[in-house]
Subunit: 458 residues, 2 copies
């Protein structure tokens, strides 16, 4: 591996104590939440402004030193691992909410602002930022991976919720893409090109995101089902009937066991469940619930447990959000190998059924949860990190990826490509994958931006 | 201008009577709906398959002959005018609805399918394609210009409604972007890069579009206001309160006069109006109407006239859709010079007020209508086509563009760039405009795809 000592020295000269080479700091930036092999950066830099980022990019471009953007490290596909060394740009000091435009229902933030921080800042406005991947990720990281999560079925993913960006390009130029106007036909959609680009095309230094009004009424519930199939079919019908579900999450039996064990107040029957949330006016929510109940009765649903009080709702969704850690606790010390299938909803029941078969055949422990309203679900394959189990998990994930693609889906509904999903991209995209490579070369001819992730350029 | 005779001969050899050089056909493809100077193509080709398109692109690439895509010619920014000659690719024979996936609420169509044709094909499914720019444009043309229209406030623009594409690239390769899954984090968002690219990056040969369920209840109405300001403020409040308006259109006094004159059954008071539509359950629509009425009373609204019967609703929206032709009929024989401001909604009242002042000062006749729920409105400046009036209209449009940009908006909310809005792109995008130029060169190094439109490459 190339040595970037002189780059680090130059950056220290320019940026002083914003540059750290302390071993504990390097280690903290060497891995994400998943099973990938850690790799230390040569330095971690904590820029405080767009100008700092420009200085970093110019120096790194001159030295052909990799730049890896870092939010809070909750990635699941190895995005933030410096596989070729270089400097990690940690956005934690660029964490200001720059504007809250209540009248326009948007906010302008620096990339290091987390979603909870933004919602805290919005508390008195009656508005909310809806994209919610579970983890308290940064808005920058969420935009970079085109994140979504539980609310996407109603309010969209980062694709729909990022309106405009400030981006530092590989030559150090700072561009602005998009405006705060709600729509535009003014040329190529650069905003959406950067959203989901995983730090491989440029570094986002400012993001304008869409906000929504807090609904008059929120009702959340859990509902037990006789079978995963019944639950999934209920979801499919609800979507097709146009019930504007705000959240609809499938939790399989094993995951319910994990949640019960992880949360002392939780004591759900060990069976597949849907976790639901309805938003609207009081009457509107009542209508949605009525309709959904009819469907769930037909699908073998029982025992609606309502969380109407704010704290009960919060507890319910915290439990859902902690599901990854709860399921990992099923096997203490294990690593998680996470799949991320997303298929057209008509194929969801089939995809889950075949996935369950493949898990059974593999002999591995792999609880299943999903944002089923979008046709998206995850397995968390729990492995001990040994080469043997890693290989078994990989084989299972391969089978599920093939299955997903054969059903017209994508192997990464919301976690991004990183290094984990890169091997499947050619199969998923065909010739379009080489077009992505061309784009990468156009924006980043020296391949300094997060090299080794998403695309294959040499 | 270069002569592409030999290209046309070669294409005739390859494609037979799919190639036309009849003068009337060339003339029909020489201009769009707006004021731009016509220019004939060297030939018009009517491909019937993706293979035909590949053949056209390969031949034209070899000869560096421009290719101009053409739907039904309802563009307003000169997109389809062959300003450098070459061949026009008319998609009217690629007009098959290939799939209607009711369960997934999507459809796969060829680019020449028009929006009315698609909705006709959906009639028995309970589903609808919602993007509605007024004209019965082709889905291909609408995707190419990132069109929107009256329903976008509720259901989104072509940006949100195109899920996947088949595209022929400049080297003749055929790629597929996106899938029918509702979301994806699988790399760069090529779908949204092609949407709005106006035929300058590749030719779309297949489009997968999102559908929505037809609402249980639809109610449409007109509401008269004392002032444009009162109407606009009512809209702003309705949006901020989160009333899920399906359509909310502003029609100024002059436009009302034009609509009354153009439609024999229409007899609205000559004053600013909002045209509205509410979608939902019966109770939901009743709630929306109740809430909206309160707001409109405060804003100086009177005389709600309801169009509850299907035919009355259809008549109302047909009148709205014909507004461009109705306003042009105010001055027989005139040409339309159309502006397309879109601003953050907090700036809308100011933008419209200043626009009205500028119109008054100019002395020109320029009725104003708008998709005000999105912050988007148009002037149709009615000119006689003389150099004098063209210059006056241009000066007025310049003033309005500067005003729009100063208020944080875009000069093209939904009509695209073409040749008409190209002069404003550098001011709107700054350095990001040169990035668009880089993208153009990456996809189309020979500049054969709709040259002279959207970007500036040499």
């Amino acid at each position: 591996m190339t040595d970037f000592n002189s780059t680090v020295v130059a950056l220290k000269d320019a940026l002083g104590d914003k540059v750290s080479t302390g071993v504990s700091v390097l280690d903290l930036h060497a891995s994400d939440e998943a099973h990938f092999k850690p790799a230390r950066p040569d330095a971690v830099i904590f820029p405080e402004s767009t100008d700092d980022v420009v200085n970093i990019v110019k120096r790194c471009a001159a030295d052909q030193c990799p730049i890896i953007p870092y939010g809070v490290g909750t990635s699941l596909e190895g995005h933030i691992i410096p596989v070729r060394g270089g400097v990690t740009v940690d956005t934690s000091r660029m964490n200001r909410v720059l504007q809250v435009n209540s009248d326009d229902m948007d906010a302008v933030v620096q990339p290091g602002v987390t979603r909870k921080q933004l919602n805290e800042a919005l508390k008195t406005t009656g508005l909310m930022f809806t994209v919610d991947p579970g983890a308290d990720a940064t808005i920058g990281g969420m935009a970079a991976t085109r994140a979504s999560g539980t609310n996407a079925v109603r309010y969209g993913t980062m694709r729909e919720n990022v309106m405009a960006l400030e981006v530092v390009l590989a030559d150090g130029r700072v561009i602005r893409t998009g405006t705060r106007a709600r729509k535009s036909s003014a040329g190529y959609d650069l905003t959406r090109l950067f959203v989901g680009s995983e730090g491989t095309l440029g570094l986002m230094t400012e993001l304008t995101v869409r906000l929504f009004g807090q609904p008059e009424m929120i009702a959340a519930a859990t509902c037990r089902f006789d079978s995963v199939e019944g639950a999934v079919n209920t979801v499919i019908q609800a979507i097709q009937l146009g019930i504007p579900l705000a959240r609809i999450e499938l939790i399989d039996t094993l995951s319910i066991r994990a949640l019960n064990a992880y949360n002392e107040d939780m004591n759900l029957t060990e069976a597949p469940h849907l976790f639901l949330e309805f938003h609207g006016t009081e009457n509107g929510v009542a209508e949605q619930i009525e309709l959904f109940k009819e469907l769930s009765n037909d699908g073998g649903g029982h025992e609606f447990q309502w969380a109407t009080k704010n704290e009960d709702r919060t507890a319910l969704w915290r439990a859902r959000h902690d599901a990854y850690f709860a399921t990992k606790a099923l096997r203490p010390g294990c690593e998680g190998y996470v799949t991320d299938s997303c298929v057209p909803i008509s194929q969801l029941a089939e995809c889950i059924k075949e996935t369950e078969k493949a898990v059974k055949k593999s002999g591995l422990t792999a609880p299943l949860i999903g944002h089923v309203g979008d046709g998206n679900f995850h397995l968390a394959i729990l492995i001990d990190g040994s080469p043997k189990e890693l290989a078994q998990a990989k084989a299972l994930a391969n089978d599920i990826s093939s299955l997903t693609l054969s059903l017209g889906g994508t192997v990464t509904g919301e976690h991004g490509v990183g290094i984990g999903k890169r091997p499947y991209m050619l199969e998923e995209h065909g010739d379009a994958y080489s077009v992505m490579g061309d784009l990468k070369k156009t924006f980043d001819p020296l391949n300094i931006f997060n090299p080794g992730k998403l695309v294959s350029v040499n």
